[in-house]
Symmetry: C2
Subunit: 314 residues, 2 copies
C-alpha cells in the first residue's frame, strides 16, 4: 500500500528482456511516484515447494521479469532519469540457488542447489541460515533500467550503460539513482528484488524475493551521463559490519582470477570453521559477502579481497 503514489504498475504488467518498442504500461509525468509490484527473478517459478530439481525444469525464457515499462513524458536521449527509491515492501519468502553454469566459480559447483528463505517482512530481523547463521537483510532492486537504443529484443541478463541487471546491493530505500536515457520516454522498468546480497553476487543469485517498490521518477535534462551513478546519504553496511569481517585474498595479474581465488578461499574457510557444505558456504557468500578491489596499481599483481561479515555467526 502506497500513501503517496500517483500510479500502480500491477504485477502482470511485466516484460522479459529490454526492447525500445515495447508498449508502455504507463505514461507518467516527471515528479510522479509509482508503486511497482515486482515479481521475483524466477517469475514465480520457484515457490515454497521448490527443490533443487525445480531448477532443472526452469523456463529461462521467463527469467528476470521486470515491471513496466513506464514512458516518462519529455524524456529524450541525452537526459538522465533521476530515480528515487522510496520504500520496499518485502514478501517474507525468498530463495538462493546455484544454477549450473552460472556464477563466479561455476566450474567448482556443477550441481544444482537451492536454499529457501523465510524472513519476517515486518521486523526484517536477520534470516536464519543452517546451523547458527543469521544473515542481515537489506532489500533492494537487482534490475533497474531504461530501454537501450539498440533495436529489437535485448537480453535482460547483462547490465548496460542504461542500467538493467546491475545487482548493486546498495540500490535500496533512500537512494537516488541516475540512469542515462537512450530513447524517447526512457521506458523505465524495475524488478529482480532481493532481500539481501553482497558485493559481487558471487554464486549468481541473492536472496531472490518478490516485493513491491515505491519509486519517484524525475528528469535531468541534457545530463550527458556516461553510465549509472547514485547517491546514498546513509552508511551502507551498518546492518552487518558490527562484528567486523573475515577476509580472504586473491593476488595476481588478473582481476577475475583473483576474485575467484578470494571467494574459493572464503568458501574453504567457512566450510572448515562452521561445518558448512562448500555449496552452502558459496551461496552464503553470495548473499552477504563483499568483493573488493584492495589494490589495482602495484604492477603486475592486483589484490582482490572477499569480506565476510562475522556477525553472521556471532
Amino acid at each position: 500500500m502506497c500513501v503517496a503514489c500517483n500510479h500502480t504498475i500491477h504485477r502482470d504488467r511485466h516484460h522479459f528482456g529490454w526492447n525500445r518498442d515495447f508498449a508502455p504500461a504507463l505514461i507518467a509525468r516527471p515528479g510522479e511516484t509509482i508503486l511497482f509490484e515486482c515479481l521475483d527473478s524466477s517469475g514465480g517459478q520457484i515457490g515454497a515447494g521448490a527443490t533443487a530439481d525445480t531448477l532443472a525444469s526452469l523456463d529461462f525464457g521467463r527469467i528476470n521479469p521486470v515491471s513496466g515499462p513506464v514512458h516518462v513524458e519529455e524524456a529524450e536521449p541525452g537526459d538522465a532519469l533521476k530515480v528515487t527509491l522510496r520504500t520496499f515492501h518485502p514478501s517474507g519468502f525468498g530463495w538462493t540457488a546455484n544454477i549450473p553454469g552460472f556464477g563466479l566459480v561455476a566450474d567448482q559447483f556443477p550441481e544444482p542447489a537451492l536454499h529457501l528463505w523465510s524472513y519476517d517482512a515486518a521486523s526484517m530481523v536477520p534470516a536464519l541460515y543452517g546451523p547458527g547463521g543469521r544473515v542481515p537483510l537489506k532489500p533492494f532492486a537487482g534490475t533497474i533500467g531504461v530501454a537501450p537504443a539498440a533495436p529489437g529484443l535485448q537480453s535482460v541478463v547483462p547490465p548496460r550503460r542504461v542500467g538493467g541487471n546491475m545487482d548493486i546491493r546498495d540500490l535500496s530505500a533512500g537512494v537516488t539513482l541516475y540512469l542515462p536515457v537512450e530513447v524517447d520516454g526512457a521506458l523505465f522498468s524495475i524488478g529482480d528484488t532481493h532481500a539481501a546480497q553482497g558485493d559481487g553476487e558471487v554464486c549468481g543469485t541473492a536472496i531472490e524475493s518478490r516485493m513491491d517498490v515505491e519509486v519517484t521518477i524525475e528528469l535531468v535534462k541534457d545530463a550527458r551521463l556516461a553510465s549509472p551513478r547514485f547517491t546514498v546519504t546513509e552508511p551502507v553496511t551498518r546492518h552487518l559490519d558490527g562484528a567486523g569481517y573475515e577476509v580472504t585474498t586473491g593476488i595476481g595479474p588478473d582481476l577475475m582470477v583473483a576474485a575467484r581465488e578470494a571467494v574459493m578461499r572464503m568458501v574453504d574457510l567457512l566450510a572448515a570453521e562452521h561445518a558448512l557444505a562448500p555449496i552452502d558456504a558459496y551461496m552464503l557468500c553470495s548473499v552477504c559477502g563483499d568483493l573488493r578491489i584492495s589494490e589495482i596499481v602495484d604492477m603486475p599483481n592486483w589484490v582482490v579481497s572477499f569480506y565476510f561479515p562475522r556477525i553472521v555467526f556471532a
Copy 2:
C-alpha cells in the same frame, strides 16, 4: 614508545625488495612483540620541502623500504605467520603523488603531481584537502610480508602469495593477519605506512606517511594457507561512512576497464561538483574512495563501482 615490546627494529634496519638470503635484523621467538620503526615509501626522499619536481629526481632504487627482516624461530615452509597489528604511531606528515606511468588511469594523468599533508598525529582528526575537503584518517601498513621462496632479489612492488605490497587499507590496528611462510624463519618485514587510503589505491599512492608499528608475531604450524587472510573484529568504514557515498559505475566485460571507467567518472563528478582540478580529484579518490565489484556474474557484463564518501565534503 612501546610499553610491552620485546624488541625494537630501528629505522636504519630496512631493506629494498625481498630476498630469502637477507641477514635477519632480529631473531625473535613466537609470541614476542616488536616495535618496528618504519620509513615512508619514499625512504625519506619526499619531505616537507618537496614539490612535484622532486618526483622527477626520485631514486626508485630506494622506493618502499621495509623494516626487518625478522627471523622467527621454528617457522618453516607450510606454516602461517600470525601477525597482530597492535598500535600505529603516526608522524603527522604525509604525501600523495601522481607518479607518471604509475596508477590506474596513468594514461589520463601524464604529469607529476604532489600533495603534502599535515595532520594531527595525536587527535587524528580528518586532514584538510584543498577548499573544503576533510579526509578521515585510519593508519595502516601498505607492505607486510615474509620472504618468498624464489631465490635472489625480488621486486617490492607486486604483492605475492606471501604478502608484501598488498596495500589493503584495513590492515590497521587490531587486525590479525595470517601470511603463508615459504622459507625457514619466515623473514618478516613491514613498512610503507599510510595515514589513509581507499580500496584500490587508484592513483598509486595513499597518504604516504612515516610511522612506527607495534606487532606481535605468532606461529600457526602446518597451516597450509593459500594466500594472506585476516580477521578484523570491528567495523572498517565507520570513520568515513556517516554521510553515505557518491557512487559511479563502470559496466562491461573487462573488470580492469570497468574499474578505470568508474574512477574516471568519479574524477569528473568531483571536479564538476567541488571545483577540483581533475588531478586533485584523482589523488583524493586514491586516499579515501573505494573500488568494489558490485556484480561479477551477469554475463557478459560486470559492474565495478567507485564509492566516494560524502563526509569529505559534508
